[in-house]
Subunit: 361 residues, 4 copies
């Protein structure tokens, strides 16, 4: 196990370059009056971390040398003088998107576009959540109290997995009884299945390829599981549904996904894209599926939102037993240094993996 | 048991006057090309029927002499020449609101306001659903196929109980994690609790007075049950919720309900009224609760909608195990003549009653 | 001039094949109880007609041998027995999209997808509006009374030009003060400019190439006109607007249009496509402009709607002086046979043409 | 004229008690890093000021002794170290509602409910805008640059008159061609008429009693003016409109207004209340007009919003010639001390008054 340093240093798991990481000591930040420092209790690596690792963060060179990670929960150990809602000792969830709410984007209801999360920012003093102690700029706006009955592992599924999926389902505007297809049932897709079920969907098709995901999809509300290796899976969905579906959510995408989604969805329906398409310059839309431009099919592409209010709402869903994010956790590690093992599962494309968590002690 | 007449007569349970009903023979209608005749399998009396009975339908004198009732399911026994989607032998649900979809109201998305349901219309040849054989004007628009896995008793909860409640919850526009209060947990209120739970509510407060309703409320998703006989129940809700709630749905109302709802709901929140206020000329709004006119509290008051599409969607929720309307049925009767016994439960204000159904054979 | 035939024949301008038309006699239809026959007073050819002519209607072979056209207004000369709202002698506007409102599509608020307009249907007895007398199936649903103060030429701009443009602007959901770009300022784009101006847009950029269109765009509310031949026109718009715009409406499109629109629109904004992309199998989306899938940019693609209610609303805008569709009419012809001359303007790509009308007498 | 003091004192027009005001010297505040000080150029008294004066601010005793006023524009003379978007010398508009955007209310899109405007706050150092120099807490969030082509008097109509009215019209969700009634055509009602016209309304009924208001209403887009002294004015509107209207906006209310509005609006329509009802404990809803609770009539009651983004949008409407707020200004005064004369117009219920402005030099 790594020795935990006291004083003004803390250990972090830093990205060094393409496929290279390193444990480094980082100096403790001096907090601003609105800030807080959180002792990390649990983190969860994500495919975005792997993407950054495997590309060496070519699109965000400022990330090199900084701690990785953006999903975490922990305990408040220091707060700035102006922090009103949080105090030392509180169990808290940290927002993955840490907006500057004093922004025109926030005034427009799009705070997520005013992200100041250090993970992404060009600020040498800031970094990700794979550290012993994590500093954030605006505690009152970007932390949330974890209710007693919510576990650490449930909590850490919230800032990215749940919020991305639930934002997608919200934007997909599912109505009571609607049929919905999820293309991709990794952790975000599975949380989407859960979201659709508690948003009132009727039939839910989970499109994937792994039995471990299908099993969880069924538990979370899918009515049908579909293997995309079957060459006629689009026709199979259309047949089982008795025609095109009301909504499609893409959480794992290839160059064909948008066109497939447009084929699956009915006119007047909505396609919600949650997938990232890196490494390509364009993606195409099949014109026949798009009715040559007059399809009345809407395409939305929401980014994960954040902030205290939304995290509070999601935590209420867990607290009241409406959703069960712990079901997507397939691997648990104990000890900060096990972040490496958790990352390795992604790198190996381990077919038993849905989502890992790493408890720091 | 009543003898069932063949040929051109059918038995019906008619409203004759204030607190007076009678079994009468009605002549069989001649159907139009778009119409259908349904052999009744199950009906359910409702508080609206009792209201009409106890007032002698003072506001709708044309109802006198006609069969009562508006909730039913049955089997198609005759269809007009232009009916495309239904055939003799089909198990079908009948819409309580039977819109004329060829209307400007329907073009405006408010087909429910172009209701041609015979129960309400000033047409001597038309009547309610408490008859052996029921005639409706437009089968393709106002019937729905009952899926094999949906029972008669589940189905008959759909046209009024489910559709009224789900319309209310839809108009209340509940967002993930929202806190919701239901004032009144009779059958519509309970279906509202269920609707809120599968629409993503967090905390759900069920306000009522009877244990039988509280028990079902808990099963359907309520987190808290509140007895309105407790003088401080409004404060109790505010305390448990940590402040005003996001949404309030009134399904059973008194002259105070709207003001109480406005006290309970937060600014920016929505109050949805599903209650009827007969016997009064006005209802008042507490101005302080309404912030003297600038509260940003929205008040909606939706009528039950109908039509095939919505019934199909609701039936999909039952078919896929999302909702459990059978839980609100407390009394089952067998034999058409038992409609009288079912009605008597309402008249007696039987405290064990939530919702009765009467199977015709 | 063509001789007008009485009795049971009427003259029509029929599509015969690729680049081939012919004047033919059509037998008068026998109307159904809900139908009506309209004596044509004015029609307007449209680019869709030209597309059908130049391709020989390859995608709709049933159109061959039928009258062309879908924009018209006229006088009622016969109504079916069940028609309630229209009588012989009424000045009426005919819906271009003639929905069957007795359909699940209409119940879903998408009546336009249940189009029974004879122009498009596989019914040998039905055809387009370039005829002396036009038969429609459902008068009460698909006609609208033309107010006295509205001229024939204003009226005939309604069923396609105005309704397509206004539906686009409605779906673009313009908010007060929003900046909007119109890519393409032909007749639909210009009506879009007008719609945006009376929907509360701030800055309106009209992107086109012809001075005649720019002049009308300015009159109808454009603040800036932009020539797309300027290689840096996208940058010019971004500069003048001080960054990306709130909304983009594409009414005239090439393979690049969708990507250009995504470059122009801000995150959180909406791109509305009204253009048709025939002759291609796919259209591409620039991934950088789409933020690799997480752009929060919404893409909508509405079809022209129809029906009496919407036409009534649009006619109210003309009647009350809110909009001035007559400004897009550049050419007027008198005499039914002049349809040929009007069509020729399109075929010649006449640079002075925005929209022609042909009065039948 | 009042002598303008330099140094650390500034003159202000303070509320002292019921019907009592006084010119006082206030010490200059020390600004925080996000704050700014604005030299006042123009203010406008409003009925809210008169209400506070005539009641002695019984409901807000902390206002006693402070400067009055909340509508102003001026020139930046000092900015805090963290202010990024404004500098000394800028012409700026000051938000009437000065939200703390670092709040859960703002995260919920309701920043107006987190108002920190000193006018309303229990902070002895803060006050209204009727001062030589005005201090606000968060310049980047609550100021807006006034475009060169926008005059001071146009600008000062924005923070309350325009924003209240436009918020009301936005919440009334007017669709193209809708008929709208404005009950009350004082300055907010008139700006509402303008808003409705540029939001796409068809017929606009302006209900009031003074010719000066009717004249401006016509200029701003009203199609019909209605005197509420005519005993049958409700019937007159219903007759002219051919039935109930789509939307009603109440900007000036009595105890009957809500019931009248519900009588005027169609089922499925919206009533938007912008009026304040002080001095009463409740307001009643006519149950017949509300269809006894199932009317599908929505009631909204929005407060005036604020913030830079919205002010920017409104200023763009002025800058681009879409709206003409200067038309509601009936009285102009020059010299700060003339605030008294402007206030007197309200006190006298001067029938020629719509809205006054006071230029400070």
């Amino acid at each position: 196990m790594l020795s935990k340093k006291g004083g003004c240093f803390m250990k972090g798991y830093a990205l060094i370059g393409k496929n290279k990481t390193e444990w480094r000591d980082f100096s403790m930040p001096k907090i601003n009056p609105y800030g807080a420092i959180i002792e990390t209790k649990v983190v969860s690596p994500c495919t975005t971390d792997i993407h950054l690792l495997e590309t060496g963060a070519v699109d965000n060179p400022s990330l090199i040398g900084k701690p990785m990670g953006h999903e975490m929960a922990g305990i408040v150990i220091e707060v700035g003088s102006e922090v009103k809602e949080f105090k030392v000792g509180d169990r808290v969830l940290v927002s993955a998107t840490q907006a500057n709410f004093r922004s025109l984007e926030a005034q427009a209801g799009m705070s997520k576009l005013a992200d100041t999360n250090q993970y992404w920012m060009d600020d040498p003093e800031r970094g990700g959540t794979f550290v012993e102690k994590y500093y954030l700029l605006d505690a009152d706006m970007n932390l949330a109290h974890i209710p007693d009955s919510v576990t650490w592992e449930q909590a850490v599924m919230t800032p990215d997995m749940i919020l991305t999926a639930f934002e997608g389902v919200r934007e997909a505007n599912i109505e009571f009884g609607d049929s919905v297809v999820f293309i991709g049932v990794g952790p975000v897709g599975l949380m989407g299945v859960q979201a659709a079920a508690i948003r009132g969907a009727g039939k839910i098709f989970a499109v994937g390829s792994r039995q471990v995901c299908f099993d969880v999809a069924k538990e979370l509300g899918a009515t049908d599981t579909i293997d995309y290796h079957d060459s006629d899976y689009v026709e199979e969905i259309l047949k089982r549904n008795g025609g095109p579906v009301d909504r499609v959510v893409i959480s794992s995408g290839t160059e064909d996904s948008l066109s497939i989604a447009l084929k699956l969805v009915k006119r007047g329906g909505i396609v919600c894209n949650l997938a990232s398409y890196f490494g390509h310059s364009s993606i195409s839309i099949d014109l026949e599926a798009w009715a040559f431009g007059a399809s009345d099919k809407t395409i939305v592409s929401p980014l994960c939102p954040g902030g205290r209010l939304l995290m509070d709402k999601m935590l209420k869903l867990i607290e009241n037993g409406r959703i069960h994010p712990e079901k997507i956790i397939t691997h648990k590690f104990y000890g900060m240094e096990k972040i490496e093992d958790a990352m390795q599962l992604f790198i190996n494309r381990d077919r038993s993996l849905i989502k890992p968590v790493v408890f720091f002690d």
